[in-house]
Symmetry: C2
Subunit: 180 residues, 2 copies
């Protein structure tokens, strides 16, 4: 049974295929609406994806970064915060707002071939620190998971994989599919 993962990101795709070999990548444009609730963003993407690829199992994922000092922002708007402020500016914002605690969150939305939607999420707690390291992408250099002295960008792919929110969420999806 094939599952289409709608993404344009090759790293995300290869991570997913390593966990679930039945996953295939698919690049189609899905509008990303403004919402604080990641599930609503994914749901609308899945509805659009079904129209374009009917009768196939589909997954869409979204990552968000919830910073306590900014009352939960950027959340799903992380892409635009990074575009405007870069990692250093976002670190300084968290620092100046007085609370660097954060959660890195991945939500995977799975839509079965008959249109039933389920969500699988994973959270890694940590804090926002001054940028360090150059492995990975996005907010990796400023996110230090609790219990570690390295940021995501200082970890090897192997080390990071054990902490990967996407990996954990995919394992949950895998269990769900096996139990059906």
């Amino acid at each position: 049974m094939k599952i289409l993962f709608i993404t344009g990101n090759k790293d995300k795709l290869s991570e997913a295929v390593a966990i679930m070999p039945e996953i295939e990548g698919c690049e189609i444009y899905l509008p990303e609406i403004q919402e604080l609730d990641t599930k609503k963003i994914i749901e609308l993407k899945l509805h659009e994806a079904i129209k374009q690829r009917p009768g196939i199992d589909l997954i869409v994922e979204d990552q968000s970064l919830v910073i306590d000092g900014i009352n939960g922002l950027p959340g799903p708007f992380i892409k635009w915060f990074l575009k405007s402020l870069d990692v250093d500016g976002l670190y300084k914002m968290a620092l100046k707002m007085g609370n660097q605690s954060a959660e890195a969150k991945t939500v995977i939305g799975y839509c079965s071939s008959v249109g039933e939607i389920n969500f699988f999420e994973a959270i890694v707690k940590g804090k926002i620190v001054s940028p360090r390291g150059n492995i990975g992408w996005g907010w990796d250099p400023i996110f230090q998971p609790d219990g570690y002295k390295m940021t995501f960008a200082e970890m090897t792919m192997e080390q990071k994989k054990q902490l990967s929110m996407r990996g954990i969420a995919l394992e949950k999806l895998k269990e769900y599919l096996a139990s059906r």
Copy 2:
């Protein structure tokens, strides 16, 4: 010639009708995508609106608040910043980030009955201040226009109307339609 203004906000509608009596309100759901460029957000809304109301002149508007100290954020994401931080939190963010200069911007997208899109924008410069006043809505209590000692929320509707970005943008649309 009728023009449909897609909005659920009665105050915005009555302000528009006062300037252009041919405007009628219309409440339909239009997805608001994540984008820093307001015109792209409006363009997608107009494309969706045309599908639902073909052959009619349509307008959609979007307001954004560009704060220099946050490198242009919140921009079109202002709704979500206010939802997460409230006006006081947003003021504190601008203060802590060290630059309270800001621009309040309105963009109106007009789509003619044959599908041609034009944009009309207006900007009011000012600064983000500690919340004062209780007239109006949104970020009005923390926006003090340059050359004034009052925030938008301390001005009467009459005073504010002279500064209204929406009013200025609508006047531009009116001129454009008259010159065709």
